[in-house]
Amino acid sequence: MTPTTQTAKKDDSQVRQKEMIARHYDKLAAAPQTGDKNVYTFVPGNLTELLLSFDLLPVLPEINSLQSAMRGKTAEYISLAEKAGHSEDVCTYVKSDIGMMRSGNIGPTGQKLPNPDLLLLSYTGCFTFLKWFELLREEYHAPVAMLHVPYQPDGRITPAMRDYVVKQLKDDIIPALERISGRAFDEAKLSEHLRLSAQAEDDLVWVLQSAKHRPSPIDAYFGAVYYVGPIFSAFRGTEDAVAYYRALRSEIEERIREGKGPVTPDGDIEKERFRVVVEGPPNWTSFRQFWKMFADEGAVAVASTYTKVGGVYDAGFRHDPSRPLESLAEYCLGCYTNLGLPTRIEMLANYVRDYEADGFLINSVKSCNSFSAGQLHILREVEKRSGKPGGFIESDLVDPRYFSAANIKNRLESYFQMLEQKRMGGAA
């Protein structure tokens, strides 16, 4: 769900991230020769540490889709999928992935991705995942291991939910990984990866919470999608990720010392005029243009929910090496889109308050019912609770047909004008 290349000048962390990603895709490209096995899986509720403990290589089709969008490929991929009978109404991540596969399965680095040795269907926060891997199972004839993660309608994890996930891990997922990898499960190795995860998670949370400063040294939506990249994908639980987040943290510390705002596609933001909280995924086909619409107005995202789809770490969750499977279960259960609407609303209202935002914006994407169904209700409720104005824009994740730049720009400009007027009204 996150892009992998930063757009402005390269910091040490960015260079590291780029290298990590390049190495990972090199390994994937070489897998047919080396015999390395790979597992396709999803960002929310991913079991990266468990895969790593079996030396399996994760592949995240959502990330491939968004990368394809950033490389301008998705119009073609989606059209291929639609010609093959996929409805125009459904999630474009799925169609982009299927189009990519049918075009030779060339990944973000221009190398061919191996076919999956296993489809690990960690079914967290979104029903589409289920259909997506049923579709891929037919395309690749690959085995599927299904992990059903119950939903948290009341914002709490019950023992029954946790036990259900742990039991599936023990009885279904681990045996499937043993079969694919030819290795026995090594709990100590898993715990070691989880220990590394928790370290990286500490630093990530520090980075995200740095947006409480004024000016915020980061953009917690556009900028932060780069920051969550490693931890949401193939690198959580690795030394590389620990080093990346340590480097990132020290860079942000430096920015705070220097009183700098966030980096944008056109360099540092000069003046933080508006602090906003953002709900919903970004648009990837016009990502830079979208970001620029904010940056040109001096609008900085100080918190976002999208950066919580791969784990809500700022609410306190950390992977726990002393209870490896239980901790993985709690992680899967706690991802943002697996939370009931009242919890999502509370989280957004808290962000507006804690990050002293001037307002909040919802980018509602056509693709994603998991995010979008209910967002108009969220808008009203968060306005009511926070007393701050909400804005609503509509686009899509990776389908360029649904990004109407002029329309979105107009809406954003009016929204920011309204914030300005409110501020002046408040000051008068």
């Binding site: 409805s87 109404d89 029903f127 309608p153 029954a160 259900y164 609407l341 009242p342 169904a373 209700h377």
Partner: protein, 391 residues
């Protein structure tokens, strides 16, 4: 209404229940019995648990094209299906006030998120998201599901329903077995003699059956069955036999079903109103009844785009249903923006194509008002099937 039912009187009564947004029969039942009534969204909930605790399960299946959506549209973007907005409309306009709560079974992200909205919009009501397992091992998914059911039973009791009682549940299972048998029998009759059981009639009967108390529903279906079978005035027409699939949640308007029939199709199997067909055979009455409910869900439920198909080939169940029903073609009829139906469709299409079964596809919304295009499409499809069968 005279004491001796006729097809017209039964269908007329069912039709008026189907059209009654205010749930008058439910209000009357509550006034008569003092019991609780719980709404439930498609597709399936274990009605037996509710019945055993003296609670009336009331199926909510959205609205038709005649409901003016005043508030509901303010809750949903244009690219989300129609049923949540009509359900919100019904709720906010007070028409569902007689319900003591609503159950939201886990079928898709829209229903899932609607459960959260409902919690906030109707804070005094019982609102439960009923998670159902996608793991079908009794020791794993079964255990989880049982826990969900036990929690549901407790939640009902906390609202004033009778406490859970295993013997009462056994009795309710027997009653629902009887209802399911009637539904199956009607489906079988329609397959055998489709001119005797027009789908437009069967459909409103099923819609009434999800609102009526179980024994009333069973009686209504049984009476209709006898009368339809005996009706010699209903004669076969030269129509194509089709299976209609994809309409398991948001329902098409009745006018659309009639249009399909008038365009030359006998619908011999469908996905409408599945709650009383979800479990496909009688649930055993011995042993622990709660466990039997769980096992039936795990092992005897219909294949659906909303369920993970772990062992069989995707679409195999659809093909089997087509073969069993003697359908000569398939109508993929899905609500616009329905992710489970539309994401499933390419796999289902491949499955039917592998068997050389002709198909066509269209989308609808519960408030679709114009059927001309669909009439032409279905008519052409029916004609082509008939031509092939002659050739």
């Amino acid at each position: 209404m005279s004491d001796t039912p006729t097809i017209a009187s039964l269908v007329g009564r069912a039709d008026s229940i189907y059209r009654d947004y205010s749930l008058t029969t439910v209000r009357e039942w509550k006034a008569r019995t003092g019991g609780l009534a719980m709404g439930f969204m498609p597709i399936y909930i274990p009605c037996e648990i509710l019945d055993a605790q003296g609670v009336l399960p009331v199926g909510l299946m959205g609205a038709r094209d005649d409901l003016e959506i005043i508030k509901g549209d303010a809750y949903y973007q244009s690219y989300i299906c129609h049923i949540p907005r009509s359900t919100i409309e019904l709720g906010l306009s007070g028409r569902l006030d007689c319900l003591d709560g609503v159950l939201f079974p886990a079928i898709c992200d829209v229903i899932r998120n609607l459960s959260g909205m409902w919690q906030m919009l109707f804070p005094t009501k019982l609102v439960r998201y009923l998670d159902v397992p996608q793991n079908f091992e009794p020791a794993i998914g079964g255990r989880f599901y049982r826990h969900e059911l036990e929690e549901l039973a407790e939640a009902l009791t906390s609202r004033g329903a009778r406490p859970y009682d295993a013997e009462a549940l056994r009795g309710s299972i027997a009653r629902y077995n009887a209802l399911r048998r009637e539904v199956r029998a009607l489906y079988a009759l329609r397959q055998r003699l489709p001119w005797k059981v027009p789908t437009s009639e069967l459909y409103v009967l099923l819609r009434a059956a999800v609102v009526l108390p179980v024994d009333d529903a069973t009686r209504m279906l049984s009476e209709y069955h006898g009368l339809a079978l005996a009706d010699e005035s209903r004669l076969p027409l030269d129509q194509a036999r089709v299976m209609l699939t994809g309409s398991f949640c948001e329902q098409p308007p009745l006018g659309l079903i009639r249009t399909l029939e008038r365009s030359g199709c006998y619908i011999v199997d469908d996905d409408f109103v599945q709650v009383h067909r979800w479990i496909q055979s009688d649930i055993p009455l011995d042993g622990d009844p709660m466990e039997q409910l769980v096992l039936a869900f795990l092992g005897d439920a219909m294949a659906s785009p909303t369920r993970y198909i772990d062992k069989a080939e995707k679409g195999a169940d659809l093909v089997l249903r087509i073969q069993r029903s003697g359908a000569e073609g398939v109508l993929f009829a899905s609500p616009s923006f329905c992710d489970p139906a539309l994401l499933d469709q390419p796999m289902a299409v491949r499955a039917v194509e592998r068997h050389g079964i002709p198909w066509t596809a269209f989308k609808y919304s519960e408030n679709t008002g114009q059927f001309q295009v669909i009439r032409e499409q279905a008519g052409t499809f029916a004609d082509s099937i008939k031509l092939w069968s002659v050739a």
